[in-house]
Symmetry: C2
Subunit: 459 residues, 2 copies
């Protein structure tokens, strides 16, 4: 394993024009590590590195490179190297790369594939984006029910080389329909003369090629397989997906949720890699929508100009009150959105959530209300800024806090559930979104209570 | 694979007192599926279900149950069943369960283990919480350099039954120091007479038992292994961890980050499972801190009471301006925190980030500023609410927006980097935290610009 410091050192030493030295250094690293070093260092001339790698290591390294480096590297290749690389990389990694290419380049690259590989590539590209089909590879080992364990092991030894994994072996009938999946451990532990059929339990989990990638996460978590078979609607075995691809999917999905939750559209690539233009446009959309929403606060306050004119003191607490609503709402929304994403919570349970959040809002709002009251009371001991009616002002602020926090927790928790119910991604009910929603209502609550407590005194 | 609807149906049918029917139904399900059904339905009498399961299936099912159900189930067992279950479950799952027990119960359960299992359990519990040691299992297959492939396969067939995985085989020297890890595929594809030493490349990734679990994620992503060896500081092979455990770690870490980012401490368990008391206390802490911080806005505005008295119109735009700063800051913070968590960004790159965010803030702030200006101009056409100096008011609002948004993007992006530099988890610079920070500054920017544009006119 290469540590961070070693990587820095190696990256520095890989910046050399001496091909012999490059070859020596590259030999020290596993393909995945070499790819990692190239991905993180901008100074390495990776086209040079690829000149010194042998064909197999080059392909393995290539598969682990970032897309932008893959694209650049392919452009630097001569036609024969380009063609052999494209044919050699595994079908699932190739699909992921092809997704990123402009149509003209894609057509050119497809034409360089062998007939068989082109057929595979075209088939995989037909599945919808973000579908399981796009993650799948058709390289797997399948065996028949009436074989012996010995026959299976021989078959693996002869034909297993290109299979993406040998950890799980698939049993199919003569037409290719999936009958069972068997872990290789069962073959390794079984007597050599035992029949495959005796190892079968006909209980297997499979994925549908057209389903969303997110659904694969749940299935991998429930079954303890490192690979799952993918079938079409009728049960015909099309390919497999391996757990390492799913690890990437989890991180991507979580990143998307987190970014949406922060009030921005999800970025397509790493923060420092997306263009400035893309980043600003992904952020501007929501920022403008929130801004337009927040304009309603100016309108709402427009209605209370008379009250404000008579008691400017009321203005002092506006940020405090609306932000408390926003904060409590943002807490509730995070907890609910994440619980739904993890499958811990379904929309049918909205009533449980509502009861919980109503009570939480009451308790949390009361805590803040009491602190707020004490603060105003304490200041009154030393200054005269709140005037003779300080206690009524303190009541207004305290009760507003209770009301606003309850409204915050309720909207923060119910809105994601409502959005899910409407078929919209609940992650768009972001912290800023909830805050904006609560701000307008918070002002109305505050001024209504002010009217109630201070009418005839200040108002 | 059991779909959601089927699961509902099975769960309903498992609510029966007829033991024979229970036995039939349980036989239809894989252990993982049965556990899933029990975990999600509250009505099933799981103690009954466990009466009808055979020993092996009971253990496998037990390993996939939620902790609270595991604990309850163990309490219902007679001593002999309790003892056999505790001895049979795999060491890593047992450690995870033991972590949840009160000390008295833990001591009792430890005393029920065989000498060997107790030694293992005690060793695993000595590793710090959240460390790799806590995830590891000492059940693995190790072979020697001078063996042939045939000997390895025979060894697996004889001794592999209890190994957590057979997908990766470990080569150790006579003292148990790790020499290499070899995927089982290499043995399956190699001629039977080949020596283990010929398959070795002496390049392997290993984890340190005392390291944080988070570090395992990175290593699994870089290497394409489904299991990784865990060693002590000297390289002595202690155990292995498998990728399915890491999938759980990723989701836990992401949940923690997301919850912190929403301005609450991370919950210990699922939203509906934590006690009301725990949930409120996890939320109250931050809410109070933010509230105290936000009180500074009241103090800040206290300094501007004279200005407000003379131009109450200024109060109308306060929520709009401070929330725009908070929103843009929350966007920036999310992007930076996530990029750091994924290793896409290091603190050394702060200068790149700062340049990017300064520019983003300028562009985004200008967009909002222009919209704000147009809004005030448009309203002036129809009402007289902004008076004769509407244009100066509009300038104040517009320039404040630019200033506040730039301040928001800068603090949102720099604060997480600063926290990381200080060794604090950057995820605590949550959306609400940034918003509160920006609110106070936003007010100062706004009133300073108001003074500049409106002095001698309204002020």
């Amino acid at each position: 394993m290469v540590s961070y410091e070693e990587k820095e050192l190696l990256a520095e030493r890989l910046v050399t024009r001496n091909l012999y030295k490059l070859k020596q250094l590259s030999a020290l690293l596993q393909p995945e590590e070499l790819a990692e070093v190239i991905n993180t260092s901008k100074e390495i001339d990776f086209t040079k590195v690829f000149q010194v790698l042998d064909a197999e290591k080059a392909v393995k390294t290539f598969e682990h490179l970032d897309f932008d480096i893959q694209v650049e590297l392919l452009q630097s290749f001569q036609v024969d190297q380009l063609s052999s690389t494209l044919n050699a990389i595994s079908p699932d990694d190739r699909t992921a790369l092809f997704e990123q290419l402009p149509p003209a380049t894609l057509q050119k690259y497809l034409s360089l594939l062998s007939d068989e590989e082109r057929k595979t590539a075209n088939q995989l590209l037909q599945y919808p984006e973000e579908s399981i089909g796009r993650l799948m590879t058709p390289d797997f080992i399948s065996v028949k029910e009436d074989w012996t364990v010995q026959q299976v092991l021989d078959h693996i030894r002869n034909f297993g080389k290109d299979s993406e994994t040998l950890n799980v072996i698939y049993v199919t009938d003569n037409k290719g329909f999936l009958l069972d999946d068997i872990k290789v451990r069962d073959f390794l532990l079984a007597p050599l003369q035992q029949k495959v059929s005796e190892l079968m339990d006909h209980q297997y989990a499979s994925l549908n090629a057209k389903d969303d990638q997110e659904s694969a996460i749940e299935v991998f978590k429930q079954t303890d397989r490192v690979a799952l078979p993918v079938t079409d609607f009728n049960g015909l075995l099309l390919g497999i997906i391996t757990i390492d691809d799913v690890v990437d999917v989890i991180e991507e999905e979580d990143t998307e949720d987190i970014q949406k939750f922060g009030g921005t559209e999800a970025l397509e690539d790493a923060y420092l890699k997306v263009s400035f233009r893309e980043m600003v446009s992904k952020r501007a959309g929501w920022l403008i929508i929130l801004f337009l929403g927040e304009m309603l606060t100016a309108s709402a306050m427009g209605y209370f100009t008379n009250e404000l004119n008579r008691a400017v003191i009321l203005a002092l607490f506006i940020p405090l009150i609306i932000s408390s609503g926003g904060n409590s709402g943002s807490q509730a929304a995070t907890l609910i959105i994440r619980a739904m994403a993890l499958g811990e919570l379904t929309i049918e349970q909205w009533w449980l959530v509502m009861r919980r959040e109503l009570l939480s809002g009451l308790v949390l709002g009361s805590i803040l209300g009491i602190i707020g009251f004490l603060r105003i009371a304490a200041w009154t001991l030393f200054t005269d800024m709140y005037g003779p009616h300080w206690m009524m002002i303190a009541f207004t602020v305290s009760f507003s806090l209770v009301g606003v926090v309850i409204f915050g927790t309720l909207s923060g928790s119910m809105l994601p559930l409502l959005l899910r119910r409407l078929g919209v991604d609940p992650a768009i009910s972001s912290a800023p979104f909830i805050a904006t929603l609560v701000d307008v209502t918070g002002l109305v609550i505050y001024f209504s209570l002010a009217y109630f407590f201070l009418k005839g005194l200040l108002l």
